[in-house]
């Protein structure tokens, strides 16, 4: 036994076939107790299937699911220590808010008054105190979401499963609910497993993220690591914006690789900055994030960093940020740089000749 936090969910080599279709391809995964864990991936990558497997709605073809150390093969969904918030919220429209929240307590032997107090407490937890008598079908999207949360949390499950819970909300509401969900998770201390296709949502909310492609886990990491050190090109493409430049490996030692990068010149990269390229595109490429490089105006002095000549091809103004698409010498595709619009920094015009300051530490080599 390790001294780390206890494992709450263990998935061991899970395979799932729908007929000939191989939906889950050997999922090995441990989710820790009290963790906010996200399954992130494009639609069809198997993330929802995996969530429903943990919930007990899908049978698996081979492998095992353990929750809190117990095998779940013979435990149906209605007896698992998990509860689910569905993408559609699945609020029972013929019941009141309080009846919805109390639904899971129907088989609970406790008295009426005690249950009513639990319902009121659960509603208070999601900020719907006093909404108990409202008709569920008359609620707004955000309110339904909260009712669904209260309805699941009132049973004090060991794991709360959330299937794209925020995808039906508008942007403002979504950002607000993201913060509320984080707070709620800290407050109740229950393990949350979130399924989402929204990389920003996963980065904001999760302790750890598993990025899934085609039924397998491509990378399992903390948000910072996932963003800064994507293990392969697909993950890098999926999470955030990454620029790619053609590269040529010209030398390799025990400590580093020497690469000739299109537009940037020659750099030495340590092995820790090397990730896998796409299997179908084995040409080496260099990737970097837009915010890791800086534009320097013509009048500004030279910096300690390395500098490259560039021409501004396009300017996209976002209020707090400006995106610049830059043309580098000998590079066909423009690269995108983001600059924060801090006080005193002017937005540059299209066509301006400028310099790009960067350091080899922000580059990732995919090969």
């Amino acid at each position: 036994m390790s001294d780390g936090p206890k494992a709450m969910i263990e998935c061991q080599d899970i395979h799932k076939y729908y007929g000939d279709y191989h939906a889950l391809r050997g999922i090995d995964l441990t989710i820790r107790e009290g963790e906010f864990f996200s399954l992130l991936g494009p639609s069809g990558c198997g993330k929802t299937t995996l969530l429903r497997t943990i919930a007990g709605f899908e049978d698996i073809s081979s492998g095992a699911v353990l929750i809190d150390g117990k095998h779940m093969e013979d435990v149906p969904a209605n007896q698992r220590p998990t509860n689910m918030v569905f993408q559609s919220y699945a609020i029972f429209p013929h019941l009141s808010v309080a009846q919805n929240v109390a639904f899971g307590l129907r088989r609970d032997p406790r008295g009426k008054a005690e249950k009513a107090a639990l319902v009121e407490e659960a509603l208070g937890m999601v900020g719907l105190k006093g909404y108990g008598n409202r008709a569920a079908h008359a609620l707004s999207g955000g309110q339904r979401q909260r009712v669904a949360l209260a309805r699941a949390l009132i049973l004090k499950p060991k794991v709360l499963l959330l299937d794209e819970p925020l995808s039906a909300l508008d942007r403002k509401m979504r950002e607000q609910m993201q913060v509320e969900l984080i707070k709620l998770q800290r407050q109740v201390g229950i393990t949350f497993v979130l399924v989402t296709h929204d990389q920003e949502e996963a980065l904001v909310m999760s302790d750890r993220i598993a990025v899934m492609f085609e039924g397998g886990i491509a990378q399992l990491d903390e948000p910072e690591a996932l963003y800064a050190r994507p293990r392969d090109r697909r993950v890098a493409d999926f999470i955030g914006v990454m620029n790619f430049l053609p590269a040529q490996i010209i030398g390799e030692t025990d400590s580093h690789v020497t690469v000739q990068v299109g537009g940037l010149g020659q750099v030495d990269l340590p092995h820790s900055q090397i990730s896998r390229a796409n299997p179908d595109d084995p040409e080496p490429t260099i990737g970097f994030r837009p915010e890791t490089m800086t534009l320097i105006g013509p009048s500004q002095p030279h910096t300690q960093a390395r500098e490259t000549e560039a021409v501004i091809d396009e300017v996209v103004y976002y209020g707090d940020m400006t995106y610049y698409d830059l043309r580098l010498e000998n590079v066909p595709e423009p690269v995108r740089i983001s600059m924060r619009n801090v006080f005193g920094r002017d937005v540059q015009a299209v066509g301006t000749r400028t310099r790009l300051a960067w350091s080899p530490g922000s580059l990732v080599l995919f090969r």
Partner: protein
């Protein structure tokens, strides 16, 4: 502007004629039911309620009415129950041969009734069953079921699949999840199905005529009495009662259907009314 009003008045005349064609014959029923003359013709003679009294005293008619009610209630309940299973299966599950199976179940809707009646008669006689109210119930269940399935399929398919899963996830069994969540939500559809099956069965003639043996039902009784001119005023009285009953029944059914829809905040698809 004037062009429009001419078009409008043309349509209005058409609509009025159309409604007259539909409802004038029915409106004549109560007129002659309360007319003291024995011949169904204008001018009217005088006011009487004798035909209603005569109708009530008629033992065969009472028997026909009882039979018809038993048949209509039983076959609408049976057809609707079977339709619930079929509609849920066809909207929720994929299974081999689904299209073909559903097609065969729905076929009686478009099959000439006389063919259904004849083939049922052959099968029932061949299997040694005697003709009775029971055999009519079987026949009516068969022809009512497609209507029930059509109505209930709409009700089931508009239902979010996660609702039942959510109830199951919250600790209910599959059956109690169905009873507590799905059933109340498809109740308006069930009421519609019961109503339309009841109405179809109540006025169905061909199958009742073929399969009832010596038992009268309302339609077969009315048909048999039309040969006797002096019975016709009484038939008019019976018709009046039936029209009044239908209106009451549909109004009550529609009330419950709308209330059900309002309670779940759903969209009213119009039911079958």
């Amino acid at each position: 502007m004037s062009q429009r009003s001419v078009e409008g008045s043309g349509l209005r005349i058409y609509a009025i004629l159309y409604l007259l064609f539909l409802y004038a014959p029915i409106a004549l029923l109560p007129v002659f039911a309360f007319n003291s003359g024995t011949i169904i013709a204008f001018p009217l003679q005088g006011f009487t309620t004798d035909w209603f009294v005569q109708m009530w005293a008629n033992a065969t008619l009472r028997r026909a009415l009882t039979n018809s009610l038993i048949i209509a209630v039983s076959s609408s309940l049976l057809a609707t129950c079977l339709a619930i299973f079929a509609a849920r299966a066809s909207t929720r599950f994929e299974f081999p041969g689904k299209g073909g199976i559903m097609g065969f179940i729905m076929l009686p809707m478009v099959l000439p009734e006389i063919i259904v009646a004849m083939s049922l008669l052959v099968v029932l006689l061949g299997s040694g069953l005697s003709l009775s109210v029971l055999t009519v119930i079987v026949g009516h269940t068969l022809i009512c079921m497609p209507y029930g399935i059509a109505i209930l399929s709409t009700a089931f398919s508009s239902l979010d699949k996660s609702l039942e899963e959510a109830a199951y996830d919250l600790g209910e069994t599959k059956w109690s999840a169905f009873r507590l969540v799905t059933l109340p939500l498809v109740m308006p559809g069930i009421i519609s199905s019961l109503l339309i099956s009841f109405t179809i069965s109540l006025d169905e003639f061909i199958i009742a005529f073929f399969l009832a043996g010596n038992e009268p039902t309302l339609p077969t009784y009315i048909f048999s009495q039309l040969r006797f001119p002096k019975q016709i005023p009484m038939i008019m009285a019976l018709g009046t009662v039936l029209v009044a009953l239908s209106i009451v029944l549909l109004a009550v059914g529609e009330y419950f259907r709308r209330r059900g829809i309002a309670r779940i905040g759903g969209k009213d698809n119009g039911g079958f009314l």
